[in-house]
Each structure stands twice: as structure tokens, then as C-alpha cells.
Symmetry: C2
Subunit: 400 residues, 2 copies
């Protein structure tokens, strides 16, 4: 059987390589090539041959929770190679290397204590080692580590591998243009990148409470392979081709969560909070449709949209810290140090990035909630200005 | 001034009457007539003449909270006559008639204790007396009292008056057809009826915490008058012409709130709850679009849609009782007696009505969440079936 798998893999790899080398310059041809390549892969997978080698790039709580799922599916679905490589940013925990702890105790005591990882997860501290031979690479780390972590991968991974980003944030360049994480990965690593976003608080996923996520991919067959990789009895996956909207939702909801925590901190009730979340959602939609005109309204009704927004605005740490920020008037970085054990909030950074885009493109007045959140959390305005902003929101100027 | 107002009013009434009498049979002509009538009214209102007489039909907590708003605006906006009639279902409270308490103490101690009503609210226990001379009649009471309360009004109110329904529920007739409350009022009272729905927990509105609502009306000028009637500095109003969707949202969200409380009762976390609310929302949309094909997706992004859903699913009493129902396994009516002081939940009744429509029209399989909620709360299935339902929801069968 091993010989058989090996020969099929080499055969496929040879075809992939020839397809890849000849047609990289031409996108249409490239897509044609990918399509045919995937048809081949699909026909191989139909033969129940273990095929796709897997890597998880990241070792935080969400990376560990998703590694539990992927590890389980790799073991139980013949489409995937059983060993899952996991890139772990090395650190010493109670005198021992984190990679050694994960490999011997099958647990990540730093970021997901109390939950066993499957023993087919193999942790390494060299990102190239983790990803070099992988066919599917799952990127899941805080946004600020992406470039530093992934730059060593440039030119070092299989060119036809499939990337999946679980990273909920984006950059803004000096000219005020949005740079999605998936775009950075796509461009720099020269691979296809899908996205997976949703209402997925890591500890609850690890506890195997039923939940769902949205998988965004341009390619039907890649989608069907990735659905098999991620879906379990407790982690359900819907699919969409609206990638940029899915990715934007994951980032923008953190701004709304800050607003939501602000409402809690000011002592307002359910009605006010619902109004703020609702207006935040409408600004998310407007933002997505402005910068990505093909953005679909339906995508906001997926887990990545309204559901993730709810989870974050009622249960997330951006909401919690924002509430504390308003109540205590302490500085955000002090609160982060006290409440997040050195981790950073994503919300303020995203609010700042969004504000920079809006300023550069002269759109501030169209997104008053996004703007006021940034001004509040950078100390330029008092938190009560959120309420003033809602009171005068352009939405209330409409007539029938 | 009084003479002037009186003469303008008689003049307008004469015109209204002539328009009304001649053209009631023909809808197009009727609409034309109403349009012209309203232009006249508008031109009168521009002269700052007090014009519209007001009535609130209902005396519960929401009726009292909205009476505070309407009473305030009637006093401060020359468009409206200052006295607001309020129909109060008579009861004796601490030895005194409720109407007398409201008229002397300017408070409704039964349903909204601790909040003063403006002293231009005049409570009466005769519904015809309350509404007979009114130009704008606000209907706000539990759904089950509508027919009994409003039947006496048939033929007794001004035929050209404007109705506004704040009632969040609907009926289903024996043939499985949906009967919206606004339709019943429109048909039986022979008047135009707008709707006002949103994330409006009564006590928070009474406490003047900032919130918003969606006003649905077919007519621009009626909309603009009603916006002036309802909007305050803390109660903001957006407008829409998608009336049936607005009204359906107000009813259907209570089914999702039961599901949401069920998740809490079963001890699941934020992710599961967000998934259930999200799937509930998609069934709300599907239901609205199925039965009212002109239903707009945008309406679900208004306060009546996603915001009211949030408030109800995180803070409402349907959620609270559903959680208790699952935890204690007590009967719903016992819990209602214990926890709601004799008031009834709207959710189970709506779930039952919706299930009847779906059964009659052979659509059960398309709305599994709605159906399972009804089966759980009528004791036909255990609460854990909600999780099974979500796990197998048709949404997760989709491919890219």
C-alpha cells in the first residue's frame, strides 16, 4: 500500500509540476491547470488514497483547537495523510520546550490547557520544516506575526499547495489601500489561499460544543476537500465564494465589539447595545461593498457575518476589555497586560487601520461608528461620544 | 387661535370625508385621495397648527413606555393635539381604579412602576371613547386581546384615521394562511395601518436609554408625520415600506429566542448560541420571502430585524423562560405563572402558529429549527433535539 501511495503521489506531483512550471505566468491557463490537477487529485481521492499532507502554522488557542479537529479528520479520512505538522513558536514552559511538551504530552499547556491534542499532531519550531512537504497549509496566528512567520516560507513550499487563512485582520498600506492577509499569502507564497472564519471562540470549539464556520474558496473541488478537512460532528461548515467579504467580516467585527463593550461600560442596556451592533453591522456591509463591490449581502448572514459578530459583541475579549476601558479609564495596554496575559487586542489595531483608509479616501462621514470607536480608543474622544454618534447616525435621517 | 384650528380642521375633515366617501371602493383612487388629503394636511401642518388627535390603545408596559414618548411629542410638536387618550383595560389596583391612578398620579403602577407618564395622557376604560375622535390610533397590546379590544371600534372611529400597530404576533387561519395583525386592523377598522417594531425592551425605553425602531408605512407623508410622533432624542426611527417583513420579524424572533434560551438551558456556549440565532435568522428570512415574495433582505438589517432578534435572544423573557423550561423540566404555564405574574409568553404561541402554516403547506423540512422549537415546547421532543436539528440543518449540506 505504501508503495502504491508513493507512486500515485509521485505521478501526481510530476503532473502538477509540469502544469505549474509551464503556466504560472498566465492566470487563465493556471486556473485551467489547477482545475485539471484537482480533477486528478479528486479521482485519486475517490480511490481512498491518503494523499494530502497537512500543516498548521500557529500554536495559539485557536491554532490548537483547529489542530484538534484537523488531527482527528486526518486520522479518520483517507483523503489526508495522518501526520499533521504544527509550527510552534518556540518558548520554554516550566523548563521544557513547548514543542517537546506538545509532542510528548499531546497538549498545549500555554494556550489551550486541559484539552488533549491528537497524537498525530507533530510540533516543530521550524516553520519551513512544518510546511515544506505539505499540500494543505493552515495559517492561524495573530495577524501581527504573519509576515515575520511566513516570509521564510517564500520559495520553500510546494507551489501547488492549498493555503487556508484563519487570520481575522488586515493591513492598510501607505496609500490607504486594504491589504487582506490572504492576498499577502497568495502573492508572496504564490499559492491558492482559501479562508475559514466564523463564530468560533477557541475554548468552546476545543470543548466540542456544536458550532459552525464559513469556508470561503474560489474553487469547488478545493472547497469540498477543505470541508472534509474541517467539518466534524460538532464543527459544521458552510461554503461561499465571497472570500474578501468573509475575511473583512472577521476583522471589522472587532471594531463593533469595542463599541459594544463601550455600551456596557457606560451602563446602557440591551436596546442600546442591539442598536450599536446593528449600526456596526450596516457599516461593515457598507465598507465591504464600497471596497469590494462584488461583496454579497448574503455573506453577512453566514457564520462569518452576523454569528461571529454576536459571539464577539456578547462574549469576546474585545468587548470585555472595552467595558473595562470605559469603567476604569485605565490605558488599553495596561488592561491588556492585566487581563490578557500579554496578548494584544485585535480591535483597536483594526479600528485604526480602518480609520486610516477612511481618512485617506475621504469617507469618514459615511462610517461614523467606525471612526468614533477609533477616536475613543485612542483617547481623542470620551466614550460618551459613542452615544452621540448613534443619536446622529445618518441612518436616522432617511425618509420613506 | 382655537377658532382658526377648528375651522381648518372642519375644512380638512370635509375634504377628507368627501374624498373618503366617494372612492373607498377603488384602491387606486383611494390612494390618490389619501395622497391629496395628506398634502393638504401637510400644508396645514407647515403652518404649525395643532392637528392630529392621538390615542394609545393599550396599557401594558410597552403601551405605557410609548405613551411617555407620544405624550412628550404631542406637547412639544404643534402637529399634534396635546391631549393623548389612552385606553386602559380597567382593573383595581390597591383599591383604586387603574384609570384613576393614571389620571391622578400620572404613573401606571401595574405595568410600568417608577416611571412618570406626562400629564397630558388621559386614561379611559372605554376603547371607543379613547379612539372615536382620534386621527392617529396606536395599537399596543398583547396579540390575544386585539380582536376583543378592537371589535367595538368597528364603525366607531374616523374612517380616515391613521393606525399604527406595535403588536408583535400574527394569526393563522384554518386554511393555513397567515393573518397579520395590521391586516386584521386594516380590514376590520377600514383604516390605513402602519407598523412600528424594533429592539425596544419597554423598561429600557422608559428609562430613556438610547434605542431605535423601524417604522413601516406605505405612504411617505404618513411616515413623516409618524416619525415626528415617535422620534425623540433617545428613541430614533428609521423608515421602510416593507411592512409585512417588519411585522413578521417582530413575531418570528420570539421562536428564535426560545431556541436561544434552550441553548442556554442545555449549557452550551456562545458559539452554539450564535449558530442557533444565525440559523433562526435565515429561517426568518426564508419564511418572509416564501410567504411575502416582495420581502426585502435589507429589512432584516433594520432594528426590527437583527437588532430586535439580539435583544430578545440575549435579554428577553422568551429566552429566560425557555432556559428555565429546559433546566427545570417544569411546564411552561407553571413557569409563566411563577416568572411572569400571569402574563403569557408570545413565543410558544407563534411557534405553534408557524408550525401549523408549515404543516398545512407541506414546508416543514425547509424550516427545521422553527419546527423543532414547537415540538420541544409542546413536549413532543426533548430539548437536546435542538442540537441534533442544528447539526443536520440543510444549510450545512451546501457545496461551493
Amino acid at each position: 500500500m505504501a508503495v502504491c501511495i508513493k507512486s500515485i503521489r509521485s505521478f501526481s506531483q510530476a503532473i502538477r509540476k509540469s502544469l505549474h512550471l509551464g503556466i504560472r505566468e498566465n492566470t487563465k491557463l493556471k486556473n485551467w491547470g489547477l482545475k485539471h490537477e484537482k480533477t486528478l487529485l479528486q479521482s485519486i481521492s475517490n480511490k481512498k488514497t491518503k494523499f494530502y499532507k497537512l500543516a498548521v502554522i500557529g500554536s495559539g488557542s485557536w491554532a490548537s483547537a483547529i489542530a484538534r479537529i484537523v488531527g482527528h479528520n486526518a486520522r479518520h479520512n483517507d483523503l489526508f495523510d495522518e501526520t499533521v505538522m504544527m509550527y510552534v513558536r518556540q518558548r520554554i514552559f516550566k523548563g521544557e520546550k513547548l514543542t517537546d511538551i506538545i509532542n510528548s504530552q499531546h497538549e498545549n499547556p500555554c494556550y489551550l490547557p486541559g484539552f488533549k491534542l491528537p497524537d498525530n499532531i507533530f510540533a516543530v519550531s521550524d516553520v519551513v520544516e512544518a510546511a515544506r512537504n505539505s499540500d494543505i497549509i493552515i495559517f492561524v496566528m495573530p495577524h501581527k506575526f504573519v509576515k515575520q512567520t511566513c516570509t521564510p516560507l517564500i520559495g520553500q513550499i510546494k507551489p501547488y499547495s492549498i493555503g487556508v487563512s484563519l487570520i481575522k485582520s488586515f493591513d492598510v498600506d501607505d496609500s490607504g489601500e486594504i491589504r487582506l492577509v490572504s492576498d499577502w499569502l497568495r502573492k508572496n507564497l504564490n499559492i491558492d489561499v482559501s479562508v475559514l472564519m466564523g463564530a468560533n471562540i477557541a475554548h468552546e470549539v476545543a470543548a466540542e460544543f456544536l458550532c459552525e464556520a464559513t469556508l470561503g474558496t474560489y474553487d469547488e473541488q478545493v472547497g469540498n476537500i477543505l470541508k472534509q478537512l474541517f467539518e466534524t460532528d460538532y464543527f459544521k461548515v458552510t461554503m461561499s465564494t465571497d472570500l474578501s467579504t468573509i475575511e473583512l467580516c472577521g476583522a471589522l467585527k472587532n471594531i463593533v465589539a469595542l463599541a459594544s463593550g463601550c455600551v456596557d461600560g457606560l451602563g446602557y442596556g440591551n436596546n442600546t447595545k442591539a442598536a450599536v451592533i446593528r449600526l456596526g453591522l450596516t457599516e461593515m456591509i457598507k465598507f465591504a461593498q464600497w471596497f469590494y463591490p462584488k461583496a454579497k449581502l448574503e455573506t453577512f448572514f453566514q457564520s462569518c457575518g452576523v454569528a461571529d459578530l454576536l459571539t464577539t459583541c456578547y462574549g469576546g475579549r474585545n468587548r470585555r476589555l472595552a467595558e473595562a476601558f470605559v469603567r476604569t479609564r485605565q490605558k488599553l495596554n495596561e488592561l491588556e497586560a492585566e487581563m490578557l496575559e500579554g496578548q494584544k487586542l485585535q480591535g483597536p489595531e483594526t479600528a485604526d487601520a480602518v480609520h486610516r483608509v477612511l481618512k485617506k479616501q475621504n469617507l469618514e462621514e459615511h462610517f461614523p461608528l467606525f471612526v468614533v470607536v477609533n477616536k475613543i480608543f485612542t483617547g481623542q474622544l470620551p466614550p460618551t461620544e459613542l452615544i452621540t454618534c448613534v443619536r446622529h447616525h445618518p441612518q436616522f435621517r432617511n425618509l420613506v
